[in-house]
Amino acid sequence: MKVRVKFRKNGAMRFIGHLDVMRYFQKAMIRADIPIAFSEGFSPHQIMSFANPLGIGVTSDGEYFDIELARPISSKKAVKQLNDAMVEGMEVVSFLQIAEEKKKTGMAIVAGADYLSSVTRGSFPENWKEQAEAFMEQDQILIVKKTKRSEKEVDIKPMIYRFEVREESLYLQVATGSVENLKPGLVMQAFANFLGVPEESTAFANHRLDLYADIGEEGERNLVTLESLGQVIEE
């Protein structure tokens, strides 16, 4: 049976990197007595795969990984047992059965993520809320992407699905996953540039709200949360 686990990562846990979060959950499975399945072979390992990694420093209410169960366990029981084994800042939200076909599971289906971002160091000019709209009305949003070998200019506008003011924060929904991937920090940096705020003087807190799969057809985008693709396992 395939299961999708959704969890939150907040507080000090934002400084725990992706690989360490994986190791953390491998141990949590044992502490929480989750009947997870192991791979075959001389050194068996838990069958577990994580969705899009979250950058260090970013908090989240919508993180996911999929596991394979050796025996069934109810969603309610599993969530309780896992939360009893969590540390402060980590919380399991749901534990849901998902379809067996590879195409719909795995983490290849991740297509988008949304974030709330706010300024934690430095400040934006007073009219930043009005400027947010103007920012998205540009034909192109060009940023310089630095790789080890080269620097190149990229238009990130097609990867920004939504960019809206929410009280003192910005809400953004961006392309995420193996096909296209945009980090929220880059968008905020581009917006700061647009406002004429020097790059070094600002820092942002980014909080991921959820991860989405695209179930739209014929090029039409239709984003649904990864959680919505699962079903409760009853007692």
Binding site: G11, I16, R23, K27, I30, S43, T120
Partner: protein
């Protein structure tokens, strides 16, 4: 939600911020308002190393069982954070509460190896705690040291209020109770130290005066305070089976060096190798009951979620219930894919059988520690491993499918001749020859024999504590003799030889047998930038040499100088049970190349029997 001591900006800049945020599984949170004693327990090394240490886990667990104590962890901030904390004047904090350690009641520092001494000063410095015990006031914590290096605490004497000599399980409760009483009484700092000095096993260095002879050796070491004892008796937990054990150890987020459940199966070692400090200071050898260990193993896997369990002891093969324990572990965890690792095992049919069950033969290697190449030299150091054992064990391993063998040696041992050195290469070759005796069609390609040598460092409370060291040039010369001999061997293409650095060896040897006059040198070295000296990337030999020069300390005095049998050593005031007479006898046996039986074969009357426990009473009960 806890507030972190470091800002986001800093945590986002430094390497591995997880080292500084605490919050790990099983870390202990308490209400500071409800705890009378705040204890900061420091391991003066990188987080990943400190988090691997069993002693710290034991005491963390034991202290936190008391409702009136909150014990928290502290590690050396890595070099990147060190710089930031110095620049911004950020005080060093404990991981759990994130509170500055200067506000704690105690700062306990475990001292595991000599090359962490500058890191100790870093902790005091970043902790905003006066470096010298004599400069501390009522607001400052009491700084207490423990661990193997406190068997000669003198090179650190100026920086500590108290040293705890021996195993931590015995008198901390008494110290905490005394502390609570003192805190209420409004008495002076000195009066608490006097109370501490009254507890067996606790040493307050400022209560002793040392005078020196013209040749620089110690003339007298005498108490200057009526509460101070002339000798300090090592603390021993006689009944280890019923001692506390950390069944819910803290599980780090990042990978520690030893990232697994650790089961301490016994303390001490019956073997009596003459170079080995652990083999002497942890006498008598005491086993933990196998039923308790089984229970711990089950509980600890469940409490941590680790997928690996490792046995810990100086010589696992000497544990009398080993077979029962190992079979239990294999059986118990076979469905949970828990790996079992068995270090310090004698290579024989039993251990090879076990190893083939718990690890992948093709990927693993078998390890021998002959320590010396020739039988003559092994007799000098009383290493009871014969060439027959090594070749026989290696042969069985080869027959079982292993192709990789590691061999550990020491160079620079007392009485060592060129022949002894060359035997390291020849013995390695004979191991390889044993492999090529197997018919070609049954072999798995070539074998790989990796020999490494470290330079021998005489340690206090060992029979070889009288030995002279050599200059770094001489060490390197010896390593080259071995290296050249390796090139002469028939199977040289299957052999590999590595040796350790010589400069650090000399420094470690200096502090191992040093005295309190070295405190100045150490302080000078820290202030000129020496830190993380056990990391070859950071060890700065020139800075150290300048520190010796500026403080007028003579390296040769501590290293290459011959010591007479009646010399008064800086550590002679400590009573470890094992007597100086026994050590002298063993030194003479070493010079005569005479082997001494192990504790189970025959008691050699070392003196540890005074503790009335472990192997000393085995045959009597």
């Amino acid at each position: 939600m806890r507030k972190l001591a470091l800002s986001d900006d800093i945590l986002m800049t430094v390497e591995k911020p997880a080292r500084y945020i605490g919050n790990e599984v099983n870390s202990v949170m308490k209400n500071p308002e409800e705890t009378e004693i705040r204890f900061a327990f420091a391991f003066p090394e990188q987080y990943e190393i400190g988090m691997s240490h069993l002693g710290m886990k034991i005491l963390y667990d034991m202290f936190n069982r008391r409702d009136d104590v909150w014990c928290e962890r502290v590690f050396s901030p890595w070099v990147d954070l060190h710089k930031i904390m110095k620049e911004k004047n950020i005080p060093l904090f404990a991981l759990e509460s994130q509170d500055p350690i200067s506000s704690f009641d105690f700062l306990g520092i475990t001292i595991q190896f000599e090359m962490c001494y500058t890191n100790i000063l870093q902790i005091l410095d970043l902790g905003h705690i006066p470096m010298h015990a004599l400069d501390r006031g009522m607001e400052d914590p009491f700084v207490i040291g423990g661990g193997p290096c406190t068997y000669n605490p003198e090179p650190l004497a100026d920086f500590f209020d108290i040293f705890y000599i021996g195993e931590g399980e015995t008198v901390y409760d008494e110290l905490f109770d005394q502390y609570k009483e003192w805190k209420k009484s409004g008495k002076s700092r000195q009066e608490f130290l006097e109370a501490a000095a009254g507890i067996e096993g606790l040493y307050v260095p400022q209560f002793y005066d040392v005078s020196y002879n013209d040749d620089g050796t110690i003339a007298a070491f005498v108490p200057n305070n009526e509460h101070a004892r002339p000798t300090i008796k090592k603390q021993v937990m006689t009944d280890v089976t019923n001692a506390v054990y950390p069944e819910k150890p803290v599980v780090p987020f990042i990978k520690a060096v030893q990232d697994r459940v650790v089961l301490e199966i016994q303390r001490g070692c019956i073997r009596g190798c003459r170079f080995c400090q652990a083999g002497m200071i942890y006498r008598p050898t005491r086993e933990r009951g196998v039923d308790k260990l089984k229970e711990y193993a089950r509980n600890m896997i469940k409490n941590t979620g680790y997928e690996e369990i490792s046995l810990s002891s100086l010589s696992s093969s000497d544990y009398s219930q080993l077979e029962e324990l190992v079979n239990f572990l294999i059986d118990e965890f076979k469905d949970q894919s828990v790996n079992i690792s068995l270090p310090s095992l004698r290579i024989d049919s039993f251990s090879l059988d076990v190893m083939s069950k718990v690890q992948d033969v093709r990927k693993s290697s078998v390890t021998f520690a002959p320590e010396a190449g020739s039988q003559r030299m092994r007799n000098v150091i009383n290493k009871g491993l014969t060439e027959e054992d090594i070749l026989g064990g290696a042969g069985k391993a080869f027959d079982g499918g292993w192709t990789r063998v590691k061999l550990y040696f020491m160079l620079g041992l007392p009485t060592e001749t060129e022949e002894d050195m060359k035997e390291i290469a020849r013995l390695s070759d004979r191991v390889a020859r044993r492999y090529y005796e197997i018919p070609k069609e049954e072999r798995h390609g070539k074998c790989q024999i990796v020999a490494s040598s470290s330079f021998f460092i005489p340690k206090p409370f060992t029979p070889l504590q009288w030995a002279t060291m050599f200059t770094p040039e001489e060490y390197i010369r010896r390593a080259y003799i071995v290296k050249h001999e390796f090139l002469e061997q028939l199977n040289r293409k299957s052999l590999k030889y590595n040796w350790h650095e010589a400069d650090v060896t000399m420094l470690e040897g200096t502090f191992a047998r040093g005295d309190r006059r070295l405190c100045k040198t150490l302080e000078e070295a820290y202030h000129t930038g020496c830190l993380f000296d056990s990391w070859s990337d950071f060890y700065d030999h020139e800075k150290w040499m300048r520190a010796f020069e500026h403080t007028g300390a003579d390296l040769d005095f501590y290293t290459t100088r011959p010591r007479s049998l009646d010399e008064k050593f800086p550590w002679d005031f400590i009573d470890i049970g094992v007597t100086k007479n026994f050590l002298k006898r063993e030194w003479e046996n070493a010079m005569d190349e005479k082997v001494t039986a192990n504790c189970r074969e025959k008691c050699s009357g070392c003196g540890a029997g005074t503790f009335g426990g472990g192997v000393c009473i085995e045959s009597k009960s």
